[in-house]
């Protein structure tokens, strides 16, 4: 391990020199964890995530990560990273599809306890029938846990968003967990050019004293929490305590917006904002939609693209404004439920112009031709413009 030096988050994201490497997504996220100065990683095998956390294990063996172990299952891994975060260290973990569901009870706990855990979700199909293939149905379920949710398009996004996730998660006024999601296999197992910051530069260590909930270390005054635990009381104060706490978790996510602009350049990326036909999508569907857009524009069809990088807090104002312009909004997705279309529909004035599809799932790919064909079909049917 080279001698490492601490650099500021701003320097690392905006000014540090970048070196081009040819990496799969699982390597890119591990490289981000290395630079994020993670104290502890607790992991459990599941395809297509495992390779990332093998690499992080190697980094632990080399000294980049201070503690690391394989837990007994995803629920207990997510519990253990919570315990570690309550103990005041910076943690990383990752899972996929069925693992996400196995662990699910913990995600609202992370948010409720204001733990700035960063978890990578390399999404995949869930049973039944059995599938290990790409499918991001789980992101729709994660969206209401209280966590911040980012959706990366490619290995470069996966690297950058993981670093951005730590920086935003640990802002004192935010201090929430972040799920950095990618479409399994399409990103985790695909090799692309990724521009990395120097290997010997890392983020400043986590400072648990900024947490809105004190670390469980007996280093702050151990007040009695309460005379009567709220959980057993049926009265207004008990209800109001729980209600206001939930509101505060959501308010903390709202306060993340300005940091998302500062560190991520905003929650969305827009190409041709004045187009008559707009693709609004996220993850690898955005990559495919971009190719579809370019092909259609070459044919003289006025198509634009909104890539949604942040699912929580959802960029509702930005999406509502952008939705005023086009005659039709097409939302390609890698899942059967169409959770992103649902999100968009619920935020725009005239949602009859939102078309949910094409949707592919269970491991199916989404060739740009499919998006082009579906769009042309809609145009021929006179649905839009």
């Amino acid at each position: 391990m080279p001698e490492r030096r601490v650099v500021s988050p701003e320097y690392m994201l905006f000014d540090a020199p970048r070196e081009k490497k040819y990496l799969i997504g699982n390597e890119a996220v591990a490289e981000a964890a290395k630079r994020a100065n993670v104290d502890m990683a607790i992991v459990y095998p599941i395809t297509p995530q495992s390779e990332a956390t093998h690499i992080i294990g190697d980094m632990y063996a080399q000294g980049y990560i201070r503690d690391y172990y394989r837990g007994e299952d995803e629920f207990n891994v997510m519990s253990a990273v919570a315990g570690a975060a309550m103990g005041g260290v910076r943690v990383f973990t990752a899972t996929s599809g069925p693992g996400t569901l196995r662990a699910f009870e913990m995600f609202p706990v992370w948010a409720g306890h204001r733990l700035p855990i960063v978890c990578a979700f390399m999404t995949r199909g869930v049973n039944s029938p059995l599938s290990i293939q790409p499918d991001n149905i789980e992101i729709g379920w994660l969206a209401d846990t209280g966590m911040l949710i980012f959706h990366a398009e490619d290995p470069q996004d996966f690297f950058d968003m993981t670093l951005q996730a730590y920086i935003i998660a640990e802002q004192p006024e935010v201090h929430l967990p972040v799920g950095v999601c990618v479409d399994g296999f399409f990103v985790t197992h695909t090799r692309e050019i990724v521009e990395l910051t120097p290997e010997d530069e890392m983020l400043p260590p986590y400072d648990p004293s900024v947490s809105p909930v004190v670390a469980m270390d007996m280093e702050t005054v151990p007040v009695r929490h309460m005379k009567d635990p709220f959980v057993m009381k049926s009265n207004y104060i008990s209800y109001n305590t729980h209600a206001s706490w939930q509101q505060e978790v959501r308010a903390a996510a709202e306060r993340a917006r300005k940091h998302i602009y500062k560190y991520m350049g905003g929650p969305i990326e827009v190409t041709h904002p004045d187009a008559e036909i707009m693709f609004m999508t996220s993850g690898t569907a955005a990559a495919q939609a971009r190719v579809a857009m370019e092909r259609m524009r070459a044919e003289g069809i006025d198509v634009g693209l909104v890539k949604i990088k942040v699912i929580r807090p959802f960029p509702e104002k930005e999406i509502a404004e952008l939705a005023e312009v086009p005659g039709i909004i097409i939302v390609p997705e890698h899942n059967i439920t169409g959770w992103l279309a649902r999100e968009i529909r619920s935020r725009v004035n005239n949602n009859s112009k939102i078309y949910s599809g094409p949707r592919v799932f269970g491991g199916m790919t989404m060739p740009p031709e499919v998006i082009v064909k579906e769009t042309k079909k809609l145009l021929q049917a006179g649905v839009a413009v």
Partner: protein
């Protein structure tokens, strides 16, 4: 210990109970069960039922912590979770059954942050929480040789949810969810603990208070240096087993007190207890 002092000027506005804890609490004083009644305890009042042997056990456990100023307790859903928010040391109630996983992460984190101080992590949970819903993380923490103490408060059922059968209920007993009587015997978790990797295993009762205190203390000290420790405390529940509260301690005596240590643990305990400052074990790692 700095964290336990009151900033100058704030003495008058601090609650009386807190002042008493600062001035006369057990932090950093090496007190034990024998000193009860002479100092301000970590628990003042609790909402558990009259005659609750579990409440008494917790009081004894809290009085037996070798270094309460550096101890964090991890609990789980159960009667004890109703009491714990009133205890004046950091304690965590996360979810039902994940206490040993949370404790694993916590203990490792505290070891990273405080390499020169023993931050004792103590899991304290009911029998259902340990032997049923939390069995996997409990046993895996032992397999991995995680260095914290697990204490099971065994009241032979799920008392907090209305008296259902647990793995620790005795065979044949008719309780909720065992309408024809429990079909299998009490899980011998204290035996399982020995083969699963625990360096110290004890079964205790609040009816033998000083012995219980000694076992809790030994368990925590072994967990610091040698390996995982498990203490199982029999806490009869008068509410769900329908006996008069005044009988709790009599019934609590009806259990076998056992103690097991691996040779390294035995050596370590003998060294501490025969040392010149048996009551003031160093908290330095």
């Amino acid at each position: 210990m700095e964290a336990l002092k009151i900033s100058p000027g704030f003495e008058k506005v601090m609650p009386q109970e807190y002042l008493e804890l600062v001035e006369d609490g057990p932090y950093g004083r090496g007190l034990g069960v024998k000193d009860l009644g002479t100092f301000k305890e970590l628990i003042e009042v609790h909402p558990l039922c009259a005659g609750c042997a579990l409440g008494l056990s917790i009081r004894l456990i809290l009085a037996s912590l070798p270094n309460p100023e550096n101890t964090v307790i991890v609990g789980t859903t159960g009667c004890n979770a109703i009491l714990m928010p009133q205890v004046a040391i950091h304690n965590i109630h996360c979810l039902f059954g994940n206490q040993s996983a949370v404790a694993t992460g916590l203990k490792r984190a505290l070891r990273l942050r405080y390499p020169n101080t023993h931050k004792d992590v103590v899991v304290m949970a009911g029998d259902g929480g340990v032997v049923d819903i939390g069995l996997a993380p409990t046993m895996h923490s032992w397999f991995r040789r995680e260095q914290f103490t697990t204490i099971m408060l065994d009241n032979e059922g799920y008392s907090n949810t209305g008296g259902q059968e647990s793995g620790m209920t005795r065979q044949g007993v008719v309780v909720n969810m065992a309408p024809l009587g429990k079909k299998f015997p009490k899980v011998p978790l204290h035996e399982v603990a020995k083969v699963a990797g625990c360096a110290y295993v004890a079964t205790a009762t609040p009816a033998r208070a000083r012995r219980l205190g000694q076992m809790v203390r030994r368990a925590i000290l072994v967990a610091r240096e040698i390996g995982p420790a498990y203490v199982q405390i029999f806490c009869p529940c008068s509410t769900n087993y329908k006996f008069p509260p005044a009988e709790s301690l009599k019934r609590a005596k009806e259990t076998e007190i056992t103690e097991y240590m691996v040779p390294e643990a035995k050596e370590w305990i003998e060294r501490i207890e025969k040392g010149p400052k048996a009551e003031e074990v160093s908290n330095e790692a």
